[in-house]
């Protein structure tokens, strides 16, 4: 009924059930590809078959058991899901089902190859364990500091020129006060909200700046609301209700 061997984990485990006979791993693959109805697979019989085979002594019994338990639990989970009312199982594996036998055969073939490759890898990794690397790694040495002469030059310009006061000769005498513009703003707001652009239309830069300062003071005193939808966007002054 069963051919067990101490070789490659589960690849030598074959089963003979009413619905299927052949290698166990193909059974898994067929179920995964929905080619075999999981509820037709008698899980209890499957486990009993495995346990009988397991009696044969094997070098990698623990590994094989682990793998069997893993796949058998997956089958139990799958079966219990199938017995529940249809729930859309959406996973990464949820690609549309292969429609033609060729497609199915293609995917099964690919999976079988990957499975064989995985077994070969297991052996290869096991053969190569126990190679511990040298513990004599050197701490990296700190390299020479690089200094960009252009940055030194730029720093010199910046540092040595900031001691000079900015020239102010081009500025005319200030002829308007914050108070005057605050009065202007309050007067203008009597007829409703007002944009800052409208307010300063026709003013020179100095007056526009003082008007802004006046608007800020009024807002701080709670006598005006300032609205700006986005940074640097249009600024609107509104009377406080």
């Amino acid at each position: 009924m069963v051919e067990g061997s101490g070789g490659r984990s589960l690849s030598a485990f074959t089963v003979e059930l009413e619905v299927y006979s052949g290698p166990y791993e193909w059974l898994l693959a067929l179920i995964m590809k929905d080619e075999l109805e999981i509820f037709e697979v008698p899980l209890r019989e499957l486990v009993r078959t495995y346990l009988e085979m397991r009696n044969a002594p094997s070098a990698n019994a623990l590994e094989r058991d682990t793998e069997f338990v893993g796949s058998a639990s997956a089958l139990v989970l799958l079966k219990s899901r199938t017995l529940l009312p249809a729930v859309e199982v959406d996973g990464d594996g949820g690609e549309e089902d292969p429609s033609t036998p060729e497609e199915l055969a293609g995917r099964l073939t690919e999976y079988l190859k990957v499975r064989r490759a995985a077994e070969a890898l297991r052996e290869r990794l096991a053969e190569n364990t126990g190679h511990y690397p040298s513990g004599h790694a050197l701490a990296p040495r700190t390299g020479e500091q690089r200094v960009d002469p252009r940055r030194v030059e730029a720093a010199a310009r910046k540092t040595f020129s900031r001691l000079t006061e900015p020239p102010v000769r081009h500025l005319g005498p200030i002829t308007v006060t914050v108070q005057e513009l605050a009065d202007l703003i309050r007067a203008s707001l009597r007829s409703g909200p007002l944009s800052y652009e409208e307010l300063v239309r026709g003013m020179d830069r100095l007056r526009a700046a003082v008007a802004f300062s006046a608007a800020l003071s009024l807002a701080q005193e709670g006598r005006v609301l300032l609205r700006q939808q986005e940074p640097l966007g249009p600024l609107t002054l509104e009377p406080v209700p």
Binding site: T109, A118, R124
Partner: protein, 197 residues
């Protein structure tokens, strides 16, 4: 007294836990290619598993001194470490996907295996056996592409990805024919008796 080429190479290999490529060995030691080759021949002999507790490995595109697996027990006792748990069957499958079909996305791995593989992928990334290399711009969300790392090659004792048997050689034509047969037979639910190996 000036050191012989093999001595220079040996000293450099001692201070590197990772495999050192031939070019890096040449640039550190100042040796030409033929000198380096004969130095490596000498070291291969000196650090052969039969003679030495330290062996010269040629893995992941470079040369590495490592302990002889025969001595692993003593090393593990010394470091008071237990050998890391072997990888699960699922982890081997995911590595096989990345090695043979990669670089590929998590979703592609899950598709090949027929089960969600995200948790396994995460643990292999943590162990440094898988790494993300770029993204798949053709897929929605540009998911990361995964491939095996130099640590993986080193753990498998491989010099490069070409150092593994071709995927097609792993399953015999006979087996493949049987898969086809079975799939064809699956169309007829009554036929379940098909013999298998």
């Amino acid at each position: 007294m000036s050191p012989r080429p093999a001595q220079l190479v040996e000293a450099v290999l001692l201070v590197s836990p990772r495999p050192v490529a031939a070019e890096a060995l040449r640039s550190a030691t100042g040796l030409g290619a033929p000198e380096l080759d004969s130095a490596l021949d000498e070291l291969r002999e000196r650090y052969s598993p039969e003679k030495s507790g330290v062996v010269l490995r040629e893995v992941a595109g470079g040369y590495q001194l490592a302990t002889n697996p025969l001595c692993a027990g003593a090393v593990e006792r010394f470091r008071e470490e237990i050998r890391p748990a072997p990888l699960s069957g699922a982890a081997h499958e995911v590595l096989a996907c990345a090695l043979y079909l990669g670089p590929l996305t998590r979703a592609a791995i899950s598709r090949v295996r027929g089960v969600n593989s995200d948790a396994v992928v995460r643990s292999l990334l943590e162990r440094g056996l898988l790494a993300e290399v770029g993204t798949d711009r053709e897929s929605p969300g540009s998911p990361a592409l995964l491939t095996v790392t130099d640590s993986f090659l080193s753990a498998a004792g491989a010099n490069s990805r070409e150092d593994f048997p071709p995927l097609d050689s792993l399953v015999s034509d006979e087996e493949l024919a049987r898969v086809r047969e079975r799939v064809a037979a699956a169309g007829e639910p009554e036929d379940t008796a098909g013999a298998a190996g």
